[in-house]
Structure formats: C-alpha cells, structure tokens
C-alpha cells in the first residue's frame, strides 16, 4: 500500500515540474479572464440599474468561477490523450491501483488551481477598490470555501472527461451541461433572490452544484446574510464532489478498459 502512494507521489512530483514551467503562462490566462469579468460585472452591469453594490457581488462570483475556467483545457488535454497518444495506458502498467491514474489527474488539477486562483481575490479588489467591500470577509471561511470549490472542480473535470466520447463532442457537453449549470447556478444572482421570484425553481436549483459554489464563496467574502447557510452549501458540495469522483472514476475505468 505504501508503495502505491510512493508511485503516486513521484507522479505528482513529475506533474509539479511540468506545472512549474507553465505556471506563469497559465497564471497570466487566469488574470486576463478574471480582470475582464470583474471589469464588466463591476463597472458595466451596475450602469444598467443593478447598483454599485452589485460590483462586490460579481467579484465574489468571479472568485468562485475562476476554477471552472481551468476545467475546459484540462478536459481537452485528457480527451486528446484518450484519442491520440494514450499516455494513460503507460500509467496503467505502473504498480498502483488503476484508480490512482485518475486520482493523480484530480490532485494535479486541485494543486494547480489552488496555486493560481488564490490571487483572483486580491486582483478583483485592486480592480474594483472601494466598490468591493471586504468588511465582512472571513479568512478561515474563505480558505475552506476556496479549497472545497477547487476540489469540486477537480471531481467535475474527471466526470466531464468520462462523459465526452470525442473531441468534437466537447463543445456540446460544455454548452448543454456546464453553461446552463453556471448561468442558472447564481453567477449573476443569489439563491435567496431567485427564491423570492420563484420558490419552486429555486428549490430545484439546489440540485445544481454551481448554486452551492457561488453561495459558499459569497458567504465567505460578503458575509452570511442573504445567502444559503455556509455549512449547508459546504456539505452539499461535499456530496456532489464524492458523486462526481465516483461516477467519473468508474466510467473512465470502464471506458478505458482498466481493471
């Protein structure tokens, strides 16, 4: 058992060296994406009647969504490998359980995303300055939310990779599943605000993991009032993470014919 973890550790070390060489390039991409979204959400949308307070609300949404932005390229890389070089088949020959191949992808994603997206919050503050009120900001809750969200995105990456049969299906999966999940998941509005508009749909939206991603991050940054209970969203995200991990790993093992 110890030997298995040693192999996993060495593989993660190899990933770390690769990550180090691409860190600045990927980090720059994250900064560009976050800046564009913060600027549009923080300055432009309030000009259409949403009020200045909306800037902070959007900034917290950007912090929550930053990791999702990294999912697409990683899934693309995984699916390209399945269809092309099939590097994964080499890893399947290593002395470790085959599920570790996917756990390694998951951990690699989580560590990379944690290292890069932690800078999104200070960046959004710099862009919005006084428009983004951090007086209710809780560092411990933020760290818990940030880690939990990143872990969830890691599990989502595996699940998505297991769902995409060919490269040309990728866009369909993104537009049919991820975009609606993201759009109705509260990137632009809170769950409670949705509830006042349509309680039935709001309850249905609790089955959408992105709702909890947005709510947990906004609670940590903007304070508890007006959002779903932090620990409730935390538990819901935990359940979604376990579900996506289990489904993702099981389906990938079946698809790639790994024992």
């Amino acid at each position: 058992m110890f030997k298995h973890f040693f192999v996993l550790k060495e593989l993660l070390r190899a990933d770390y060296y690769v990550f180090k060489t691409t860190f600045f390039s990927s980090f720059y991409d994250v900064l560009v994406w976050a800046s564009v979204n913060t600027f549009a959400g923080g300055y432009m949308l309030p000009a259409f009647g949403l009020g200045i307070g909306y800037a902070g609300f959007m900034a917290a949404g950007v912090c929550a969504a930053a990791g999702l932005n990294m999912v697409y390229p990683i899934v693309m890389k995984i699916v390209t490998d399945f269809e092309g070089d099939q590097l994964y088949s080499y890893y399947a020959t290593l002395p470790m359980p085959t599920s570790f191949i996917f756990i390694r992808i998951f951990l690699n994603f989580v560590f990379s995303a944690l290292a890069m997206n932690i800078f999104v919050l200070p960046l959004t503050k710099l862009i919005l300055w006084y428009r983004f009120d951090l007086s209710n900001f809780s560092i411990p809750l933020f760290l818990i939310a940030f880690t939990m969200i990143t872990i969830f995105y890691g599990a989502l990456t595996l699940w998505l990779a297991s769902r995409i049969k060919h490269m040309h299906n990728m866009r369909s999966i993104w537009m049919r599943y991820i975009y609606p999940m993201f759009g109705f998941g509260g990137y632009y509005f809170s769950w409670q605000a949705f509830y006042t508009l349509n309680p039935q749909l709001a309850y249905l939206n609790l089955c959408n993991p992105m709702t909890h991603v947005m709510e947990i991050m906004r609670t940590a940054i903007l304070g508890q009032p007006g959002f779903l209970n932090f620990w409730f969203s935390f538990c819901a995200l935990g359940i979604f993470t376990v579900l996506f991990m289990w489904l993702g790993v099981t389906r990938l093992k079946k698809r790639l014919d790994l024992i």
Partner: protein, 261 residues
C-alpha cells in the same frame, strides 16, 4: 476558361462542406439554443427583478445574435490547427488545379456561412423566449441582413487570421483566453460603446481598435434602432477594413506556415 474551372472546383469544395455541415447542423442548433435560452432567460427575466433595466433582455438578444457566429470561431480554429498538426488534409487541397489562396477563401466562405446561419437563428429564438419584451417591428431588415453578412465575414476572416498565429494545439486555450475572449467581452457583449465611454472615455477610444465593438454596435443598431449606438455605416466601413486586413494577413501567414506557393 481557366477561371471558370477555378469556380467549378471551389463550388464543388463548398458543396462538400455543405454536406458535412448538414450532418452537424442540428447538434449545433441545439447547443446554441441552450446557450441563448440560458443567457436571455437570466438577463431577460431574472436580473430585471433585481433592478436591471427591463429592456436589457432585448439588448442581450442582439448581443447573442452578434455572438452566435463567434461560437463557431473557436471550434473552427481548433479543427484547422488539428489538421495542420495531424492529417494535413489541407495539403491535398493545395494539389488541386486552383490557386492556393482559393483553398483559404473556401474555408473563409464555409466559416462565414456557418456563422451566418447561427446568427439568424437567434432572432426567432429570442422572440420566443422574451415574447412581449422583444419587438420585431423595430428591426430594420435590410440593415440587419447586411450586418449579419459582414459580421459573418469578419468571423470567417478572423478564424483564418487567428489560426495562422496558433503555434500548437496545446496553446489554443491561451489564444482564446488572452485574445478572443477579452476582445469579445470588452467589445460590448454586455454593454454598449457609449456606456463604456461614459465611464472610461480613454478605454472606449482604445476599444475602437477592437473589431468586436463594431460587430456588437452594428447588430444592435439594426435590431434595436440607431439611437445609443455607433453609426451603422461607420461600423460597416470599419468592419470591411478589418475583414480585408484579417484576410490578407491571415492568408499570407498561412501560406508561409504551410509552405504553400
């Protein structure tokens, strides 16, 4: 006579593309419809309840119409780059009895037509989702059709131009995030040029160098009326210049990259 044979080859190549496109057209429409319904649903029904201007739904229908063709740009670049790195089917076309530029003009026309069909689909869909909130009577049909044609040409030319810059498949997301996404988002997907000008006049002037600004403004001027947007004809002239530049530079770079004569 020679020119006639060029046209005939081009016509047959375009027909092949049409047959391929027909197979995936339904899937593309479903994907686009889901995206459009999500965006318009959120901006047309949910956000107005929290204070957003009630006409913003129509504004977003126009924005989505201008964006629908843009969704075709990324997969098209991806297919082109994958071909350059893999099968290089494009090399076969260079053996056909046509000038090599026509190989790229054929791609440009295929991408443009695909973008055009997608953009046209957004209007009836937007009407269905927003119903009373979105009036079709204010659409200036000739201007709208002209705008859609020029917008589609821009996306076709942009595809070739960007593909000429992508060094390898693994850099494609970087090209998207660093160039296309900011150009699109800051080009007025969620706001008009005049709104940007009210807040940041310098940035708005700089944004006049962004082709997406003209795409958004031109489509909105034709769908929602001229008031509050950059003059339609000015946008048309600016877009024409961008199309000519992207085509000329893109084809030149692709010919060098692929070692075509």
């Amino acid at each position: 006579m020679v020119k006639h044979s060029y046209v005939s080859v081009l016509q047959n190549l375009l027909y092949t593309d049409y047959l391929l496109f027909k197979r995936i057209f339904g899937t593309k429409l479903i994907d686009l419809s889901i995206e459009v319904v999500t965006v318009i649903g959120v901006f047309g029904y949910l956000l107005p309840a929290f204070g957003l201007d009630s006409s913003y739904g129509s504004f977003m229908v126009a924005g989505m119409c201008a964006t629908a063709g843009m969704f075709e740009v990324f997969p098209s670049i991806m297919n082109l780059v994958a071909d350059f790195e893999g099968d290089r089917i494009i090399s076969y076309y260079s053996t056909l009895p046509i000038p090599t530029s026509l190989v790229f003009i054929r791609l440009f026309l295929t991408y443009s037509l695909s973008a055009m069909l997608m953009a046209l689909w957004v209007i009836p869909l937007g009407k269905l989702v927003l119903w009373h909130q979105f009036s079709l009577s204010v659409i200036h049909v000739p201007k709208f059709l002209l705008a859609v044609i020029f917008m589609s040409f821009l996306y076709g030319a942009l595809t070739l131009w960007v593909a000429s810059f992508v060094p390898a498949m693994e850099r494609i997301s970087t090209v998207w995030i660093r160039f296309i996404y900011p150009m699109w988002f800051l080009g007025g997907y969620q706001f008009s040029w005049y709104v940007l000008h009210n807040f940041f006049p310098n940035l708005a002037c700089l944004n006049l160098l962004n082709p997406f600004t003209y795409v958004m403004e031109m489509i909105r001027a034709s769908i929602l009326g001229q008031e509050g947007y950059i003059n339609f004809w000015l946008c048309l002239v600016a877009l024409t210049l961008f199309i000519i530049f992207f085509m000329w530079h893109g084809i030149k770079r692709l010919k060098t990259k692929l070692d075509f004569i």
